[in-house]
Symmetry: C2
Subunit: 239 residues, 2 copies
DNA sequence: TCTAATTGCGAACACTGTTCGCAATTAACG
DNA sequence: CGTTAATTGCGAACAGTGTTCGCAATTAGA
């Protein structure tokens, strides 16, 4: 009441607006979905207010009736795809080892980030607080409930789990044929490497590159990395 | 020779330009340093071509004589601060355990990212190829040389090491007093949490938040996280 | 001295996020 | 039923962005 400015974070509280007035022609959900589709197809940088507005057949300024800012739109997008997690309570069952349940969560996260390539870096920098993100966090914490970790350690373990997943996805992408969102394309990088390596300025790097890179099984690597990370996190001891 | 367009990635090859002509009033190094300073003070979003140009007393368009694009400037910034690593050969000595040497590297990385807060997310998304970045990579690989890992595993271990470090720094920042680069400020988030938690929609989260969060020793957590990650990476076996 | 190459940079273009003001629409109230 | 108040849609405008172009200024070598 006494606050001079409206609450800055009504993002997740703001209801879909009350009774009187012209009825809205769009919805926040459809806008976010359109934005996600654009990001999937053309990269995150293509997600501009004007393009999203055009995608749903609206004027640019109209979007601000549903979304407060561009940053908020991106936060909504992140929460949207966080809804793709399948939080099956069977995975959190008491019988299950926490490791397995968390590994499953990480697997899902990897798939989600691969479906939405733009999201991998963002999951790192943006600690989202939307309902889907909170549901995910809550689920991960419920799994960790069975361990003897301190609550702060639980929180960080959950956060680091998605962080490591995001890092892995980020690193596995260049090895794949897919799209090329790098500032400079990969072929140029390769040519550059070939030109700079013989300088024997980077002997260890040259040695590694010299070996024929056996086609890596990324799935197995992922399992191993997450598995060993969880093992190291000290979940083994039951409460 | 037959290439129609100039090589796209002369970023690191382009010499500081030959003999004849007006002598440059600036240098790529000074530009990058100015950009880093701006990012340190005002955040990465404040690093615009015009602001950097103004900082060194130049016209906006002049920057393009030293830097090909905004993206390239940021890549140069990343390589610049990668030069802050102290790659002491003593750490890579054969007697040292690889784990210790890599842990030291991660410690340095953490400090660098804390000095340049904007860099933590970027280290994730941008696989830089500048001389300093390559020197760092080469050093890490030379440490891993003593292990029995496959070369692809070596590469990914090195990449994941900085990735995990970046993730940790990203997660430890909100716990610190420092600057606030989040889309919405932390106090608002806290208020929101307080309002949404009693909904008992997130019981595990509520349970964790209820416990008094003992002031965490971030340094110790870092050591543990990196240590256990390296332990799981399978470095233990000597070659 | 002339020539060729290089830098500096104002001006412009195509974008971007965001705000403002106003017309159009709708629900509720008297 | 008419009036009022609230809400949406959105064209226009503003400030800021990355980038390109053309030209003047400067410099080294022929």
């Amino acid at each position: 009441m006494a606050m001079s400015s409206k609450d800055p974070i009504d993002i997740w509280l703001r209801a879909e607006q009350g009774s009187a007035g012209r009825k809205p022609e769009h919805s926040r959900a459809s806008i976010v979905q359109a934005a996600v589709k654009i990001a999937d197809d053309q990269g995150i940088e293509a997600v501009s207010i004007r393009k999203v507005a055009a995608a749903i057949g609206a004027g640019a300024a109209s979007l601000y009736r549903y979304v407060k800012s561009h940053d908020e739109l991106i936060e909504l997008m992140l929460d949207e795809i966080s809804g793709e997690y399948v939080l099956d309570p069977a995975n959190g069952a008491e019988g299950e080892a926490p490791q397995r349940a968390l590994l499953d969560l990480a697997r899902q996260g990897r798939q989600i980030m691969r479906r939405h390539l733009w999201s991998a870096p963002l999951f790192l920098s943006q600690p989202s607080m939307g309902p889907n993100s909170l549901a995910y966090l809550d689920f991960a914490l419920s799994i960790l409930q069975e361990t003897s970790l301190e609550s702060s350690a639980k929180l960080r373990t959950a956060a680091m789990l998605t962080a490591v997943t995001s890092a892995f996805v980020q690193n596995e992408l260049p090895l794949h044929p897919g799209a090329n969102h790098s500032p400079v394309d990969a072929s140029a990088r390769a040519a550059y490497m070939a030109q700079v390596l013989p300088t024997d300025a980077y002997p260890a790097l040259a040695a590694v590159m010299a070996e024929e890179l056996a086609p890596v099984n990324l799935d197995m690597e992922f399992e191993k990395i997450i598995g060993t990370y969880l093992q190291g996190a000290g979940l083994s001891e039951r409460k």
